[in-house]
């Protein structure tokens, strides 16, 4: 379980994240959605311990990220929005490397690498150097290295962005598999249909503040729209009005 409590991060005058709190329960998929520049990536990076918040705290399975960053990171699997892989290494070598950094060794390491290769359906590419891999193939490596240590909590930053239909479907199936395995999954996305289809809970963030959260059904009911996209536009628009970003009539 991931527990985020009153996170604040500002850069000079800009409050990138402003008092964000939510919980990502085990066995559920929580979607973090918001317009560009809303603070999604900053929030995910604070949860991953890459950025120190000025206020607030993050607990990963009860471990405070600020107090015990290394332990907290070992409980997390993080897939960033950067699709970088090592082109001269094979996926298997890359998984092995990240497994070692997570402290795995010997048979346990090899076993986990093999499991991830099977789970992510990457056996056909596992022993080829990653140079020239497609976006979807790289995405599998990135997801694989986030999972190699079998973390209970998973952060995914826009995991389906730029992928083709088949790769998007595979990624979504993988997320559902994680959920079935009882993991806590937090992911950010721009795709409302994806959020609506996958998420048990949605957190809408605008200008660094949470403007709404709840199940997709609850958000639809609250705004009176029959789809999440319209609900999001209404809720995000209201958030922008409150933050002074747009004038009230624009919201209407």
């Amino acid at each position: 379980m991931i527990h985020v409590e009153n996170l604040v991060k500002h850069y000079g005058e800009i409050r990138a994240v402003d008092g964000v709190s939510f919980t990502v329960p085990d066995g559920q998929i929580t979607g973090l959605i918001g317009p560009n520049g809303a603070g999604k990536t900053t929030t995910l990076r604070m949860i991953a311990g890459l950025i120190k918040p000025q206020q607030g705290r993050v607990l990963i399975d009860g471990v405070d990220v600020a107090q015990e960053p290394q332990k907290a990171r070992s409980l997390l699997g993080v897939q960033s929005d950067m699709l970088g892989v090592y082109p001269r290494l094979t996926p298997r070598e890359q998984l092995r490397y990240y497994g070692r950094l997570q402290g795995l060794r010997g048979d346990m390491l090899e076993q986990r690498v093999e499991t991830v290769i099977i789970e992510l359906r990457m056996a056909d590419i596992a022993d080829r150097r990653a140079e020239g891999f497609s976006r979807g193939q790289r995405q599998k490596i990135i997801l694989g290295r986030a999972l190699v240590h079998n973390p209970h909590n998973i952060l995914l930053d826009e995991p389906t962005q730029g992928l083709d239909v088949m790769a998007v479907r595979e990624t979504r199936e993988t997320m559902e598999m994680f959920k079935a395995q009882g993991r806590a999954i937090l992911f950010s996305t721009h795709y409302m249909d994806e959020a609506e289809r996958l998420c048990d809970q949605i957190v809408i963030i605008v200008r660094g503040k949470i403007v709404a959260s709840g199940t997709p059904e609850a958000l639809r009911e609250r705004t009176g729209h029959d789809n999440l996209e319209d609900s999001f536009v209404a809720l995000a628009g209201a958030g922008l009005v409150r933050s002074g970003e747009i004038a009230p009539e624009t919201e209407r």
């Binding site: 890459l50 990171r73 892989v85 001269r88």
Partner: protein, 395 residues
């Protein structure tokens, strides 16, 4: 901790060994500098040997006015004056000739009248370059001194004066330096410079790859979300850079020693004593580590490979600066060998020159490098800050 450092080290080695550019760059250094030394060493030696042994021909105008005794004496010194018909000063100025002598019409008369007879020697060393067989003014000067002594003695004898009366002190200077040693003198200046630049450059490619390259590829964030601490990541990467760097440094230094072995016997070349190579390795290896950390510092905050390459070129300038500083300002106090970068380069320079080193010089130079590594590593760790490294964008 060591498991993670070792894992990062192994990964970086494997990754970079598969990078043709990194491997070629490393090997090129060793092979390139070896060939450079093998080719230029005999050329430089030959230049000094030829200069010392060859007859000196001096294009001369007014040769018909020269005193025959003077010409005979020049021949003893293996100097031959050759009549020159063209524009002597103009040709020297334009670099057509490196040297020329002008004998005035009244040369013989002046000598006969016991007046100073003047000769004008025009020189332009740029005409042949520094290392080409060139004119040695020293030999002509010796010949003229000898002629002066003989003439003065003759004149004093004519007035019944002992010539020794006018020379309370006579300095007999005789250079015992062999041409090979002369070439070694050049090596003492050039070798430390080459070695320092080599050390500064070795590992640059991999240092950039493991820092800015990681960022450019988009793999840095994934690495930083692992439980590996900043120190583990940095030390692991530094270990890989160092491993990659010492191979060309060692091979190159050894190639300086072995290069001359492969030359034909007819070719004269200066073989560096093996102790020079050993001392260079002894102080050069810790020095390599200092430069590796400096390059990491320069590259760690850069976003792209190209930016990092530009930043890392500062290390080469630093090496050049230190090399020249040592050449012109060698250490005067033993403690100066403790100064990171300066101390080890000074040891290499002094050893090449066969100048006895203070017994503390080598330990101090190594200790200075260790201190340098610790200090530089602290700076690198400050710069290797997760948040600052990553926060180039965020939504």
């Amino acid at each position: 901790m060591f498991y993670r450092i070792r894992s990062i080290w192994q990964k970086e080695l494997l990754d970079n060994l598969r990078d043709r550019r990194a491997v070629i760059q490393s090997l090129l250094f060793a092979i390139g500098f070896g060939i450079f030394y093998a080719v230029f060493n005999p050329l430089i030696s030959a230049s000094f040997i030829e200069r010392a042994a060859a007859t000196q021909y001096i294009p001369t105008q007014g040769i018909e006015y020269a005193d025959p005794t003077f010409l005979s004496l020049l021949e003893v010194y293996d100097i031959v004056l050759e009549a020159y018909e063209g524009d002597l000063t103009g040709d020297i100025q334009r670099g057509v000739l490196p040297v020329g002598l002008m004998i005035p019409e009244n040369f013989v008369e002046s000598l006969a009248d016991d007046e100073p007879a003047s000769l004008t020697l025009y020189v332009n060393p740029s005409a042949t370059g520094f290392f080409s067989p060139n004119f040695s003014g020293e030999r002509l000067e010796l010949a003229i001194n000898e002629f002066n002594n003989q003439a003065a003695a003759r004149r004093l004898a004519e007035v019944n004066l002992d010539p020794d009366l006018l020379s309370p002190i006579r300095l007999n200077q005789e250079s015992l330096m062999t041409p090979e040693q002369q070439a070694g003198l050049f090596a003492s200046f050039s070798l430390p410079l080459i070695v320092t630049i080599l050390i500064a450059q070795s590992g640059v490619f991999i240092a950039i790859d493991v820092t800015a390259g990681e960022k450019e590829r988009g793999t840095l964030e994934a690495l930083l979300v692992t439980p590996a601490s900043d120190t583990e990541v940095l030390v692991g990467k530094l270990a890989a850079v160092f491993t990659f760097a010492i191979v060309p440094v060692t091979l190159t230094l050894l190639s300086f020693y072995f290069a001359t072995f492969f030359l034909p016997e007819s070719v004269q070349a200066v073989t560096l004593p093996f102790n020079v190579i050993l001392v260079s390795l002894l102080v050069g290896i810790p020095l390599t580590l200092v430069f590796n950390v400096i390059v990491l510092i320069l590259a760690v905050r850069q976003n792209t490979f190209k930016d990092a390459q530009s930043a890392a070129s500062l290390a080469t300038f630093l090496a050049l600066f230190i090399g020249f500083l040592v050449a012109f300002r060698p250490p005067e106090a033993d403690l100066a060998y403790l100064i990171p970068l300066y101390g080890p380069v000074a040891v290499i320079s002094r050893t090449t020159l066969s100048v006895p080193l203070p017994p503390t010089a080598i330990p101090y130079a190594i200790l200075g490098s260790v201190i340098g590594v610790v200090l530089a590593l602290r700076i690198a760790l400050r710069l290797f800050n997760r948040e600052r490294l990553l926060y180039t964008s965020g939504s």
